[in-house]
Amino acid sequence: MFKNEEEKLGHYKNELDNIPVSLGSLDNAIMAGFHKAKSEQRKRTRKMRGIYSFVIAALLLIGLFSSIKISPAFASYISEIPGMEKIVKLIDDDKGRMAAVEKKYYQKQGVSDEKDGLKVTIDGTISDEKGIVLFYTLQSKEKIKEIQIDKVNLKAKDGTVLDEASISYGELHQSEKGEHSFSGEIEYFFEAPLTAKNYVINIEVKGKKFSLPFTLNDFKAKKEYTINKTMELEGQKIYVEKADIYPLRVAIHLKMNPNNTKQILNLEDLRLVDENNEVWGKISNGATGLGDKDTEQEIYLQSNYFTDPKELYLVLNSAQAVDKKDLIVIVDTDKLEIQKQPNGEMLQNIRFEEERGLVFELHSNKAFNFELFGDITDANGNKIEVHEQSMSSSDRKGLTELGIKLPPKNTYKNPISIELNYYPSWIKGHEKIRIK
């Protein structure tokens, strides 16, 4: 019927086929597109991981751990070294780092850079093959009420590429009456073991740029324990592959069983216990976990590297978990109606507020300080970019208000699906597996 047209199309195809192709340019174009995608992929995973680490870190600040006892010998050691007291204050919620200082694994640096009356000093470092913690002091001739490091950039002097897994910095230092000096930490962790020894860290504070070179001593090698055992809480299985013990932290490698009916959202209870019932819990300030909650992840615990117990156990009694089918909360923002949420209806009374956007009340038995919400998609499956999430606890125990700043209503289609990252419901058990 369309013989003539088909012939013309065929003829045109032949002409196209006969156009010479520069294979070199074509291959270059392919590689350029491929590299662009690869580099974004890396950036994206890093960014995601950054958020994951940050969120948990902020929440665990709410002291879960008893204070750490300081031996008289340690106390006198601290008092002997000038400036050591402020370092100890920064790490006294982390047993592993306290032990590192006590065992003289802390390395004094003392490099400074000064600009327009502001002086930045790297006092010292604690480092291992996978991480560097830098202790800094910001000093000013004038009294300062508020100061914060805005940017950091670490480079190896020999140009070795550093594969950062997480970076924590930017604590807001505040003082009502004003101070001349503030101290804090910058924490770097890496995907691949560090090989370089000489580094430069560039720091930006109040629009001024500081450059500080430093050298690291030899690292103490990690201790590796293969575990390959399964923990089980209410039928949900967690496969524990191994534990890597570094001076700065312990990395527990886990895999969730794909047949689990519940999604395990957080393992804030996971801890190491030795034969004397001494406990090493989760990192309380900094990156506490990396990876994918569905499949493989690493959980970081405070390090017992310098303790060397006879026996060591990994213990777990509870985990935050929600039925996989309940992982999505569905909300109609026109009708202000929660159409689906886990049993118990803990989310209530949704409304729009000018300041906070869409606000939910979370009614739980006890205070719950985790950011509940993750990715949000609209009825067409398009991702909704959220500008800001907020969380505030009210005076009433167990009432938390959660705000989500959504884009204008005409940019998405109702109802919207909100993924749960955390949720106040726990599965329980008594798991204790021997590592050593």
Binding site: M1, F2, N4, E5, E6, K8, L9, G10, H11, Y12, K13, E15, L16, D17, I19, V21, S22, S25, L26, D27, N28, A29, I30, A32, G33, F34, K36, A37, K38, E40, Q41
Partner: protein, 173 residues
């Protein structure tokens, strides 16, 4: 079958398999781009961007058997986006081409006619005649019954005919 295995590997994140696949279809991609766009430079840019888009979305590919159709459609989408961006410019240039390149008259005539088609008609013709894809494959990728694709194809050929007649008529005068 070999391709399907490579596709499965690529979906799982195997970069080597991914690049091998793009290599296999690079000429098809490039020629498709050339049929939509104006010159070599734009076509190369298209291949670059489509490699990028494909890598970013390969995990969403549900049926590895229809990889080629899926890939060419990404290219067609890209080209349609480009054409929308500079619609006016392209049309003007095409008119100039028709006047200047008289030797390639038949080619230009057809390209011009194709440009005047709606997106779906053009897509179907490109998939079927320039990339030798089967109606079944096209139907699978567009997630519609084969009958519908056939109807679209008929409609596309019909509008192509009328465009060609229109063009022919105009130029004869």
């Amino acid at each position: 079958m070999e391709t399907e295995q490579a596709v499965n590997k690529a979906i799982k994140g195997d970069d080597e398999a991914f690049l091998q696949l793009i290599q296999t279809y690079k000429i098809d991609l490039y020629k498709t781009a050339l049929s939509y766009l104006r010159n070599e430079e734009e076509a190369l840019e298209a291949v670059q961007d489509v490699t990028y888009r494909t890598y970013k979305s390969i995990r969403k590919l549900k049926e590895p058997a229809f990889f080629k159709t899926w890939l060419i459609r990404i290219m067609i989408n890209y080209c349609n986006d480009q054409l929308k961006k500079k619609k006016r410019l392209v049309l003007n240039d095409e008119l100039l081409d028709v006047q200047v390149v008289s030797e390639n008259y038949s080619e230009m005539e057809l390209k011009d006619a194709m440009l005047g088609l709606d997106e779906r008609s053009r897509e179907i013709l490109t998939l079927k005649y320039f990339n030798d894809l089967k109606i079944t494959d096209i139907a699978h990728c567009m997630q519609c019954p084969e009958g519908t694709v056939k109807t679209w194809l008929n409609k596309a050929l019909k509008s192509l005919r009328s465009k060609l007649e229109e063009k022919g008529g105009n130029l004869d005068v």
